[in-house]
C-alpha cells in the first residue's frame, strides 16, 4: 500500500525531470513538454495531499491547473510555430533579441 510519501517522492522526481528538461533540452517543443511534466508533478501532489486530508479541494485545483495548462500549451505552440516561421529553428538560444 503506497503512502503519501511515495506520492510526494514520485512527484518530486517528476518535477526534477521536468526542470532538468527545461534547462537541458534545446528544442522549444521539448521545453513545453517538460513544463507539462512539471505541472503534472504538482497536480499529483495536490491530488495525493487532497486524498490524504480527505478533502476534494486538491482535485478541484487540479482541474483548474489542467485548464490553464491546456490554454498555455495552445498559446505556447502557436508562438513556437510563429517563431519557427521567422527563424527556421527551434533552438531557444537563437531567440535572444529581446535584450539590452
Amino acid at each position: 500500500m503506497p503512502t503519501l510519501n511515495h506520492y510526494l517522492v514520485l512527484s518530486a522526481v517528476l518535477f526534477s525531470i521536468g526542470t532538468a528538461g527545461v534547462f537541458l533540452r534545446r528544442n522549444l517543443i521539448t521545453l513545453l513538454l517538460s513544463i507539462e511534466i512539471m505541472l503534472n508533478a504538482v497536480n499529483l501532489t495536490f491530488v495525493a495531499v487532497g486524498r490524504y486530508l480527505g478533502s476534494v479541494d486538491g482535485q478541484i485545483i487540479v482541474f483548474f491547473v489542467m485548464t490553464v495548462a491546456a490554454a498555455e500549451a495552445a498559446v505556447g505552440l502557436a508562438i513556437v510555430i510563429a517563431l519557427f516561421r521567422h527563424r527556421e529553428t527551434l533552438n531557444p538560444d537563437a531567440f535572444t533579441s529581446l535584450r539590452w
Partner: protein, 682 residues
C-alpha cells in the same frame, strides 16, 4: 472727504488702465486732468478751514486695516498744516502738469497715451496717500507706491534700453533706502508699541533728547536712509539724474516737485522724533549741505538740459535737508513749496524746448531760442530768477530763510557751503539760459570741442521724436508751446514769483506766515501739556532772550541776506561773462583745469565707484560663488548626481537582461530554491 482726495486720481487710474485704450486721446487725457483738478478742488475745500479757520487738524479713519494682538493699524488719514501744504502742492502743481502732458504727449498712440495718464494718476493717488497718511504703514504704502510709479514712468519708453535701465536703477536704489525706512518703522514699533505718527511723537516728547547714540538716533538714521533714497541725497542720489530718461512732465512732477520731496516731508512729519536725536540732525544737515554743493558743481558742466535741472534738483533738495538738519523744519518745507513751483516750471520749460527741437537735449546745440519761443523764454527766466535766489522772487525768501536758520543753528561752515551753493546755482542756471535761449542759433554756434570725452550726446535716440518737427535744431520751423503747455507754464511762472510772499521774513516787514502756520505740525500734542514742567519753563526763557537778541539778530539776518543776494547776482554776472560774452575764456579755463573739468563732467566718478565697489562685487559673487558654485555645482550637482547613479547602476544591471529564456528560467528556479530554502531550513 479726505479719502476723496486720493480716491479721485485713483479712479482716473482705474478707468484709464482698464478701458483707456478704447478711449480717444482727448477723453483719456481729459479724464486724467479732470480727476486731478477734481482732487485739487476737493483739497482746497478740505484745507480751507485749516488755512483760514482755526487750523484744527482733520482726522479720518477709513477702516480698520490690520488688527493682530497689540498691533492695530487703521487706514487713517490726517490733514494738518504740513499735509495742507503738501496736498495743495501735489494736486495744484500736479493738475498743471497733467494739463501740460496733454500737449506734450500728443504724439503717442492712443493706448500709450492712456497708459501714460493712468500711471500719472496712480502716482498722484499714491503721493496723496503718502502725505495724508496718519501712521507709518499708510505713509509707507504711499511711499512704495510713488516709487513704483516712478519706475513705471521713468521706463515709460521701455523699448529704449537706457530708459529701461534708468527705471531699474531708480527702483533698486530706492529699494535700499526703503529697506532702511522699513527697519526704522519696525524699530519704532518695537520701541513705542505704536505706529501712529502722533502717538509716537507724544511718546518721544516724554523723553529727553539723546545726547549720545541711542535708539532714537538709530530710528531716525534709518528713516533718514529712506529719505536719502527717495529724495536723492548722498549716498543714494545716483538714480535721479538717470531718471531724466522719462518723459519731461514726469521729471517735473515726480522728480522735481513732489515725489523727491517725500523724504523732506517725512522728516518734517517726524520733526519731534528727529528733534530728539541731535546726532541725526547733524548728519542730515551735513549730508544735505554736501549734496547741495556736490550736485551744484556737477550741474555746472553738464550739457544735457534735463540733467542740469536734475542736478539742480538734487542740490535744492540738499538745501531742504540742510534746513531740516538745522531744525528749521518750516524753512525746509517752505523751500519745498517754492521749489515745487519753480522747478516744475523749469522742467516744463525745458520740455517745451525739447518739444520744439524734436527731442534735442544738448544745450550746446541750442541757442538763440528766445525769439522763437517767447513764452517759454520768459517763463523760464522767471523760474531761473526764482531758483537763483534773486530778491522778490519766491526762491529768495525760502533759500534765505534756510541759510539764516543754518547760521543761527550754529553751523557756520554749513552756511558757507550753502552760500557757495547759492552762487553755483545762479551760475549753472544762467549758463543753461544763456546756452539755450541766447547766443547764436544752434548749428553755426559753438563747436563741440573739449567735452567730447564725456558721455556722448544721448538725446533723441528712439524716445520722444515728434514727427512733425524739424529733424535738427535751428533748421526749419520752430513752434512755441501750444496752449495746453503754455498755460501751465504761465501759471507756474506767476507762482514762482508770488509763492514766496507767504514767508516774508520779519526783518523785511513780513510776518513769515508759513512758519507760524506750520509750527503746530512739528510739535507733539496732547500728553505734552500734561507733562508740562520742562516745556513751560522754556518759552519764558526764550521770550526773555528774544527781546534782548532781537536787535542783534536782525542785523545778522540782514548781513546774511546781503551775502546771499550778492551770491545770486555774482553768479548771474559770472554766468553772463563766461557763458555769453566770452565763451572762449570758458573753454580756456576748462582746458587748463582739464582734470577738474573731467572729474565734474563724469560726476565725480560716483557711478563708476559704486559700480566697482558694490555692483561688480555682487555680480562677481553671484556669478562665481552663487551661480557657478552653489547653483551649478551644488544643486544641479545633486540632481545630476542622482541621475548619474541611477544610470550607472542601470548600465551594470541591464547585463542581466540577456534575452535568453533559459537563463530567466534558471534564475527563477534559483530564486524559488533560495526563498524556499530560507524558510524551510530547520
Amino acid at each position: 472727504m479726505l479719502l476723496l482726495i486720493p480716491l479721485l486720481p485713483f479712479l482716473g487710474f482705474v478707468v484709464n488702465a482698464g478701458v483707456g485704450r478704447r478711449l480717444s486721446k482727448p477723453v483719456s487725457g481729459g479724464l486724467a486732468c479732470a480727476a486731478m483738478v477734481g482732487a485739487f478742488l476737493v483739497a482746497t475745500a478740505a484745507t480751507w478751514p485749516i488755512l483760514f479757520g482755526d487750523g484744527a487738524p482733520v482726522d479720518q479713519v477709513v477702516y480698520q486695516w490690520m488688527a493682530s494682538g497689540d498691533l492695530e493699524i487703521a487706514f487713517a488719514l490726517r490733514l494738518d498744516a504740513l499735509a495742507t501744504v503738501m496736498v495743495l502742492v501735489v494736486t495744484g502743481v500736479g493738475s498743471l502738469i497733467h494739463i501740460y502732458s496733454v500737449g506734450y504727449m500728443h504724439e503717442e498712440t492712443g493706448s500709450e497715451y492712456a497708459r501714460y495718464f493712468s500711471y500719472l494718476n496712480l502716482f498722484a493717488a499714491f503721493m496723496l496717500v503718502l502725505v495724508l497718511g496718519a501712521n507709518f504703514p499708510v505713509l509707507f504704502v504711499g511711499w512704495e507706491g510713488v516709487g513704483l510709479c516712478s519706475y513705471l514712468l521713468i521706463g515709460f519708453w521701455f523699448q529704449k534700453p537706457s530708459a529701461a535701465d534708468a527705471g531699474k536703477k531708480a527702483f533698486v536704489v530706492n529699494r535700499i533706502g526703503d529697506f532702511g525706512f522699513l527697519l526704522g518703522m519696525l524699530l519704532i514699533f518695537a520701541t513705542f508699541g505704536t505706529l501712529d505718527i502722533q502717538e509716537v511723537a507724544s511718546h518721544v516728547a516724554d523723553r529727553a533728547p539723546e545726547a549720545t547714540f541711542g535708539v532714537l538716533t538709530l530710528i531716525t538714521l534709518l528713516l533718514f536712509l529712506g529719505a536719502t533714497g527717495k529724495s536723492a541725497q548722498i549716498p543714494l542720489y545716483v538714480w535721479l539724474p538717470d531718471a531724466m530718461e522719462g518723459p519731461t512732465p514726469v521729471s517735473a512732477l515726480i522728480h522735481a516737485a513732489t515725489m523727491v520731496t517725500a523724504g523732506v516731508y517725512m522728516i518734517g512729519r517726524n520733526a519731534v522724533l528727529f528733534s530728539h536725536a541731535p546726532m541725526t540732525l547733524e548728519t542730515v544737515a551735513v549730508v544735505g549741505a554736501v549734496t547741495a554743493l556736490m550736485a551744484g558743481t556737477i550741474g555746472l558742466v553738464q550739457n544735457d538740459i534735463k540733467r542740469v535741472l536734475a542736478y539742480s534738483t538734487v542740490s535744492q533738495l540738499g538745501y531742504m535737508f540742510l534746513a531740516m538738519g538745522a531744525g528749521a523744519y518750516a524753512a525746509g518745507i517752505f523751500h519745498l513749496y517754492t521749489h515745487a513751483f519753480f522747478k516744475a516750471l523749469l522742467f516744463l520749460g525745458s520740455g517745451a524746448v525739447i518739444h520744439a527741437l524734436a527731442g534735442e537735449q544738448d544745450i550746446r546745440r541750442m541757442g538763440g531760442l528766445r525769439r522763437e519761443l517767447p513764452i517759454t523764454y520768459w517763463t523760464f527766466i522767471a523760474g531761473t530768477l526764482a531758483i537763483a535766489g534773486v530778491p522778490l522772487f519766491s526762491g529768495f525768501f525760502s533759500k534765505d530763510e534756510i541759510l539764516y536758520k543754518t547760521w543761527t543753528a550754529g553751523f557756520p561752515v554749513l552756511w558757507v557751503v550753502g552760500a557757495a551753493t547759492a552762487l553755483l546755482t545762479a551760475v549753472y542756471m544762467f549758463r543753461l539760459v544763456f546756452y539755450t535761449f541766447h547766443g547764436q542759433p544752434a548749428g553755426s554756434g559753438t563747436p563741440v570741442s573739449i567735452d567730447q570725452g564725456s558721455r556722448g550726446p544721448t538725446p533723441a535716440s528712439g524716445g520722444h521724436v515728434p514727427s512733425h518737427a524739424a529733424p535738427a535744431a535751428g533748421a526749419g520751423h520752430l513752434h512755441d508751446a501750444p496752449p495746453a503747455m503754455a498755460i501751465p507754464l504761465i501759471v507756474l511762472a506767476i507762482g514762482s514769483v508770488v509763492a514766496g510772499y507767504v514767508g516774508v521774513p520779519h526783518v523785511l516787514g513780513g510776518e513769515n506766515r508759513i512758519e507760524r502756520f506750520l509750527e503746530p505740525s512739528f510739535e507733539a500734542h496732547e500728553r505734552v501739556t500734561a507733562v508740562g514742567e520742562p516745556l513751560a519753563a522754556e518759552p519764558a526763557e526764550t521770550a526773555a532772550e528774544a527781546g534782548e537778541a532781537a536787535h542783534g539778530e536782525a542785523s545778522t539776518e540782514l548781513t546774511l541776506m546781503a551775502v546771499s543776494i550778492g551770491a545770486a547776482f555774482g553768479g548771474i554776472a559770472l554766468a553772463w561773462f563766461f557763458f555769453l560774452k566770452r565763451r572762449d575764456v570758458t573753454e580756456n579755463v576748462a582746458r587748463s583745469y582739464s582734470g577738474v573739468h573731467r572729474l565734474l563732467l563724469n560726476k565725480y566718478y560716483v557711478d563708476e565707484l559704486y559700480d566697482a565697489t558694490i555692483v561688480q562685487p555682487i555680480k562677481q559673487t553671484s556669478t562665481v560663488a552663487l551661480w557657478k558654485g552653489v547653483d551649478a555645482g551644488g544643486i544641479d550637482g545633486l540632481v545630476n548626481g542622482a541621475g548619474a547613479v541611477v544610470r550607472g547602476g542601470g548600465s551594470i544591471l541591464r547585463r542581466l537582461q540577456s534575452g535568453s529564456v533559459r537563463v530567466y528560467a534558471a534564475s527563477l528556479f534559483l530564486g524559488v530554491v533560495l526563498v524556499l530554502g530560507y524558510y524551510l531550513w530547520p
